[in-house]
């Protein structure tokens, strides 16, 4: 009975509860909804997690993808060929095109200029050049490609200078290129110039355009060498242009060899004459009336070979010489010890098996192409000392060759007047391991050296991309920063983790954390505007501080522990030594600064800076010392907090054991604590070093940013990171400079990443070790 009533009451209770709950259908719907929410939360969170991981990986991938194109070799596209536009049997003397490769011009030896489409050979227009009847072209010369000047020497002693132009017009968004021939010295009727009046044929000719006008140098059949200057002056009053002609006869280089090539540079000062004996003669023609041979040199290594072709590179500083033995060499004028300019061999390039017939320089870079008698074409780059392309273009000799202005195609003409267009993809020839990391002999320098100079005002500038000064600068800055920061941070960490009173520790740690958070731009600004001038005026104080500070601290410690009466000493509990030393630090600091001028007067003749200069030490106001202190300041908290952590977490039973065995606290620290915590301290130093390497603003503001290669503490430096900050906004997108800066960023990224990973692994191992101890 009781059972029944009991069971019914339980039943009742259950029903009551069931009534409180929602119906079964509702509950299952709720359960399903919760499941959906659970699942979707999982997927949403996973999606965010993955996207973050992908975004972070993207940094690496993207940096790498920007660097990659530099590592890819140059390539040659499919060669298109056609018969000479404008027809045989005339021979081509010169080809050139516009920068879009839409229109090209061919000069022939039957006195025509033919404009044609370089990709197909379709002729668009023909010009007849104003030569008199019955003369033949006996010589031709070309000024720097950018000037588009061509000179012809004739067998009657006359010369013609022409300029081809490509003008662009836009019609309905489409580009049209028109070609024309101009005569810079006179119009069509007066364009012919007398080089020599007596009708001696011209055998070689050179032309160049400078700021004052056009100069022509011609070798004549009777061995004479003649310089003709055409100075163009425009009258301010009438706007009329008058051409003044001046003629100078130069010494003949030698009697037995005949002149095979003449080159004049754009400054109109240096004239190079090559002869059939394989020699090059250098004339200084700054004052043409007194011009004479300054230097003569054989430029072909093989004694039996002679000069087959020679050409200036962009900027007309470097001379490229191709020999009949197939050798290719670069030469330029270098001042020797006697301050005389000498033709100097700089570097040789991968040679040909046949005589080098033509050399074609690029329009905007220090690259060039060489073609030989066997139809082989090679493309070289001078600064990086590379031969980037080696390809067989024709079966026979190549007679004429020219680059497209953007160096994206080569035009060649062979013996049978067959035209070929060789598309070239060669975006980054300036880069090689050598160019980045080895000494390079740059144009105009007297020896090979490490230089970073990425840009300049002139177009013919040779970019200098040596990463050595930047790397040295980075290491230098980091080294001095670590020199300042490491002892302070580690000693401070040992003290605060092991000796310091807990209450003081509670105040010191947040202070150091604040120090870590200080924006580096503020440290840099203080270093550059406050510390640098301060140090400059108080150099002795810096050194007396380094010496006196520890000495006086120890002296104070001695006094405090030995000489001060017990009654005063016990007022300061142990663990507060640092607080006691604060006034000492302030006093010593004040003393050193105040005594700085006196030291200067006593030992350095009143002015240490002047004294340093006299001794031969360069002193920059913003120097490595300033950077070391400022960046050290930024690094101290990093090293401090990690090594403090490592020291603090050394298991207590180890130190207590050591103390129980009778070791002094200091012995315990050096023999037990430091040994156990050393991996942690090591990783702290590594992380600090990583931070110093990548720091940008401090270096940017506290140094002069000059890329020097030395470790002088009184000179500045330029680091990889500061260099990126300075130059990145100006670098042309996709150019070599741009990509080298990306390379610098990638190097920084990988370097710090590896160092931090190593430090992190060390720390994790240490943590495991502690927990097992």
């Amino acid at each position: 009975m009781t059972d029944v009533s009991n069971s019914s009451s339980v039943e009742q209770e259950n029903r009551r509860i069931r009534d409180l709950l929602p119906s079964g259908e509702k509950r299952s719907r709720l359960r399903r909804w919760r499941g959906v929410k659970d699942h979707s939360a999982r997927y949403v969170i996973a999606a965010f997690g993955f996207s973050v991981i992908i975004a972070l990986a993207l940094i690496f991938v993207y940096l790498f993808s920007e660097v990659m194109p530099m590592l890819q070799p140059a390539s040659v596209g499919e060669v298109s060929q056609y018969d000479s536009p404008g027809g045989n049997p005339a021979q081509t003397v010169q080809v050139a095109s516009d920068r879009h490769r839409e229109l090209a011009v061919r000069f022939t030896d039957d006195r025509r200029a033919v404009f044609y489409r370089p990709m197909t050979g379709e002729v668009t227009r023909e010009y007849d050049l104003p030569f008199p009847e019955g003369v033949t072209i006996t010589a031709r010369g070309r000024a720097e490609p950018r000037t588009r000047l061509v000179a012809y020497g004739l067998d009657n002693g006359q010369a013609l200078v022409t300029r081809h132009t490509f003008s662009e017009t836009f019609e309905e968004g489409r580009r049209r290129v028109e070609g024309a021939i101009e005569y810079p010295l006179g119009d069509e009727d007066t364009a012919l110039l007398d080089v020599v009046e007596d009708g001696t044929p011209i055998t070689q000719i050179a032309v160049q355009e400078g700021s004052s006008g056009i100069s022509v140098v011609a070798a004549l059949a009777d061995g004479r060498l003649r310089l003709v200057q055409f100075e163009t002056t425009t009258s301010f009053m009438t706007g009329e242009t008058t051409v003044e002609r001046k003629v100078y006869d130069l010494d003949q280089p030698s009697d037995e060899a005949e002149i095979t090539a003449i080159l004049l540079d754009i400054t109109m000062q240096n004239l190079l004459v090559g002869d059939s004996a394989g020699r090059v003669h250098y004339y200084n023609v700054r004052r043409p009336a007194q011009a004479r041979i300054m230097d003569s040199r054989r430029v072909i290594p093989d004694p039996d070979a002679s000069v087959a072709s020679m050409e200036y590179l962009l900027g007309t500083v470097s001379l490229i010489v191709g020999g009949t033995d197939g050798s290719v060499g670069q030469w330029f004028l270098v001042r020797d010890e006697d301050n005389v300019q000498r033709i100097t061999f700089v570097r040789g390039f991968e040679g040909h098996d046949a005589p080098v017939r033509v050399i074609a320089p690029e329009y905007a870079r220090k690259g060039f192409a060489t073609a030989d008698e066997a139809g082989r074409v090679k493309v070289h780059y001078s600064t990086s000392h590379r031969t980037v392309i080696d390809t067989q273009v024709a079966d026979g000799p190549i007679r004429v060759m020219g680059f497209a202005p953007r160096a994206n195609a080569l035009y060649t003409v062979d013996e049978n007047e067959r035209f070929r267009v060789v598309p070239v993809s060669n975006p980054h020839p300036e880069v090689s391991v050598r160019a980045l990391w080895d000494r390079v002999w740059y144009e105009g320098r007297s020896s090979d050296e490490f230089v970073w100079q990425s840009s300049s005002a002139t177009d013919e500038f040779e970019p200098k991309f040596s990463l050595v000064p930047l790397t040295v600068g980075t290491l230098k800055a980091a080294f001095y920063a670590m020199l300042f920061a490491t002892p302070l941070a580690i000693m401070g960490a040992i003290y605060s983790a092991y000796f310091m009173a807990p209450r003081m520790r509670g105040m010191v740690k947040p202070t150091i954390e604040i120090m870590e958070a200080l924006p580096t731009v503020i440290l840099g600004f203080l270093a550059g505007l406050w510390l640098a001038p301060f140090v400059e005026n108080h150099i002795p104080a810096v050194f007396s501080l380094v010496i006196l500070m520890p000495v006086l601290m120890v002296a104070f410690a001695f006094l405090w522990t030995r000489a001060i009466p017990e009654a005063i000493r016990v007022r300061v509990p142990p663990g507060w030594e640092a607080a006691l030393l604060v006034p000492v630090v302030l006093l010593v600091g004040w003393f050193c600064v105040a005594s700085s001028p006196l030291i200067e007067i006593a030992f350095f003749g009143g002015d240490l800076r002047q004294w340093l200069t006299d001794v031969g030490i360069t002193y920059d106001q913003r120097n490595a010392l300033v950077v070391g202190v400022a960046m050290g300041f930024a690094v101290i908290p990093t090293i401090y907090s990690i090594s403090e952590d490592a020291v603090f977490n050394v298991p207590k039973h180890l130190t207590q054991g050591s103390l129980a065995l009778g070791a002094t606290p200091w012995q315990t620290v050096t023999k037990v604590v430091l040994l156990t915590a050393s991996p942690g301290i090591f990783s702290a130093v590594m992380i600090g070093f990583g931070r110093a390497v990548g720091e940008t603003m401090i270096v940017l503001m506290a140094t002069g940013n000059s890329p020097v290669v030395n470790f002088n503490i009184f000179e500045g430096m330029r680091t990889l990171s500061a260099n990126i900050a300075v130059e990145m906004p100006e670098a042309a997108v996709g150019g070599t400079h741009f990509r080298i800066l990306f390379l610098a960023a990638l190097v920084l990224f990988i370097l710090t990443f590896i160092m931090n990973t190593a430090a992190e692994l060390v720390r994790q191992r240490l943590r495991r070790k502690y927990s097992s101890l």
Partner: protein, 554 residues
């Protein structure tokens, strides 16, 4: 003694010394910034003295003492100063003479030994001008329409009274020029772009084109009318303001006429009580914080820089918080803990140590050139070749900094998640809650302070970071704020000004470093205060949190 060394006590003391040095450096640095930054706004006294170099005529010098230094006589002589014979140590004072427009050199070093007694004339007046920096001299008379109205003491009162009114008018003129005309120009530019887009679009029928063009023309006409109206008002003010001027005597005795329209503020520091000085101080400080920069940023205020910094950090927070927090939850709660996740965790950790400039390079190449360039091609072809998003922009700066600070948020959140006792999770799961519910109801609220800490640390880091911004979005002088009254109000494509970059720019790129120096200190002070406040908040939250869980897990 030997025993004492053996005991190791000196080494302990040396270690203590390292802490003492670090503390002195931090505190000293903060005090230096505070003193220099705050001191700039204090109306310092104007000194007058006669300066006589041996063998030269004496000259009267009037100015504020900027700072003093002790140097050796030799160094001074080599720097070209005339120092009396027999002197070995010399004190020199940098005097701010002002009057840059007349003397060219507003800051000049004077050798203390060649000075007469310093005098503090009560009539010495300092005027802050809109151009050419400060003027320091004596007020001679006050003029209206070129005629002298008051002289001497009366001139001061008349001048003061009028200046207050003139300032009102000048402010109105500035408001018209900066905001009203700026807005109209912006709208006219928008119409030009719409017109261009219309021209470039071949799919529109002629009729529709005509209708649209007529609309645009009408709108343009209306705006030009508004513009003309504003211009009339501006010229009116200009004319009115130009009537008043003062004459003042400079230190060399010459007088100069100054138009009131070019004067921001005038004060007589030697004749001010401490209370007056304090009032002046507060006013100047407020002008600094709320004003726009002038004179290549070396004068005026830093409002655009503060605004830019705050806005950038806010946009960054909006991006970095969900990504950072959810990624941390994923790594800690969902991902299978194993070698892979450990590797990812270490990598994320290490990204915090990657130099910030690397992020800048990435931001420039990827965000600005790649993404921004693509957006321009796709959505803003009418503005090309001028970039819209393909140039420095606040959105790219924010995204770059979001990437940079992502590790900070992730690490901090993860730390918070690990600190939550697993018993709480297990309890919730045992009661039948799903994983999402456990997370949402228990784990996230409990670890919210940790997330907050992470976010604050991220904000503090972002606010102080300059190097990457120099590549992706910061400019010396932004013509307009990235937020204004024109649709769409928040202009993510605009370049902006930033406190940190302002410091770099004024301190190192400006033509007159000496004049800009106090301003840089003041800017630095504001930045430091901002960052210290943020950090202290973060540290406090974190410590509080640690205490809380320590007591709970015990």
């Amino acid at each position: 003694m030997n025993n004492w060394f053996k005991s190791g006590t000196p080494w302990v003391w040396l270690n203590a010394g390292a802490v003492a040095i670090s503390l002195v450096m931090v505190v000293g640095l903060l005090l230096l910034i505070a003193a220099r930054g705050l001191g700039h706004f204090w109306p310092s006294n104007v000194v007058e003295f006669d300066y006589t170099e041996p063998g030269q005529e004496s000259e009267r010098v009037l100015g504020e003492v900027s700072r003093s230094e002790t140097m050796t006589a030799q160094a001074m002589r080599e720097a070209g100063y005339v120092v009396p014979e027999g002197q070995e140590v010399v004190t020199r004072h940098l005097i701010k003479r002002g009057n840059r427009d007349v003397t060219n050199r507003d800051f000049v070093w004077y050798v203390g030994e060649n000075m007469s007694e310093w005098r503090y004339p009560e009539d010495a007046m300092v005027i802050e001008r809109l151009t050419w920096g400060d003027f320091i001299g004596y007020l001679v008379d006050y003029r209206e329409d070129g005629a002298v109205v008051a002289e001497g003491r009366e001139a001061r009162e008349a001048f003061r009274e009028r200046l207050a009114q003139t300032r009102e008018q000048v402010r109105e003129r500035e408001r018209i020029e900066r905001f009203d005309i700026g807005n109209v120009n912006y709208q006219i530019e928008q119409i030009r772009l719409q017109q261009r887009a219309l021209d470039m679009n071949p799919d529109i029928s002629d009729a529709e084109r005509e209708v649209r063009e007529a609309e645009l023309a009408a709108e343009r006409e209306r705006l030009e009318e508004v513009y003309a109206g504003l211009e009339v008002r501006r010229n009116e003010i200009r004319r009115d303001v130009a009537r008043y001027s003062i004459t003042a005597e400079m230190m060399d005795g010459r007088t100069q006429e100054l138009a009131l329209s070019g004067i921001v503020k005038a004060w007589w520091p030697n004749d001010m009580s401490v209370m007056q000085k304090t009032g002046h101080y507060v006013g100047t400080f407020w002008d600094f914080v709320s004003g726009f920069p002038r004179e290549a940023n070396t004068e005026g205020g830093i409002l655009p820089a503060i605004f830019g910094t705050v806005l950038m950090v806010m946009i960054m927070s909006v991006v970095v918080t969900p990504f950072g927090v959810l990624a941390a939850i994923y790594l800690r709660e969902y991902a299978k803990q194993g070698p892979l996740v450990r590797t990812i965790r270490i990598s994320v950790n290490n990204l915090a140590g990657v130099p910030s400039i690397v992020f800048g390079v990435f931001g420039l190449g990827f965000f600005v050139y790649a993404v921004g360039g693509t957006i321009d091609q796709a959505f803003f072809p009418e503005a090309l070749p001028a970039p819209t998003f393909g140039g420095p922009a606040i959105i790219w700066a924010s995204l770059t900094l979001a990437l940079l600070t992502l590790p900070v948020v992730i690490v901090s959140t993860e730390e918070g998640l690990t600190r939550i006792p697993s018993t709480i999770r297990q309890g919730s799961l045992a009661l039948g809650a799903t994983k999402a519910e456990t997370l949402w109801r228990l784990v996230v609220p409990l670890s919210a302070p940790a997330m907050m800490t992470g976010l604050i640390l991220a904000v503090a880091r972002a606010a102080g970071e300059v190097a990457p911004l120099m590549l992706v979005g910061v400019v010396k002088l932004a013509p307009s704020l990235p937020m204004d009254g024109n649709f769409p109000f928040l202009h993510l494509d605009r370049a902006f000004m930033h406190l940190g970059f302002h410091i770099y720019d004024v301190g190192f790129q400006s033509p007159n470093v000496e004049a800009g120096r106090p301003l840089v200190y003041a800017t630095a002070l504001i930045l430091v205060l901002l960052i210290i406040v943020l950090n202290v908040t973060a540290i406090t939250i974190r410590n509080h949190l640690r205490e809380k869980y320590r007591s709970e897990s015990d």
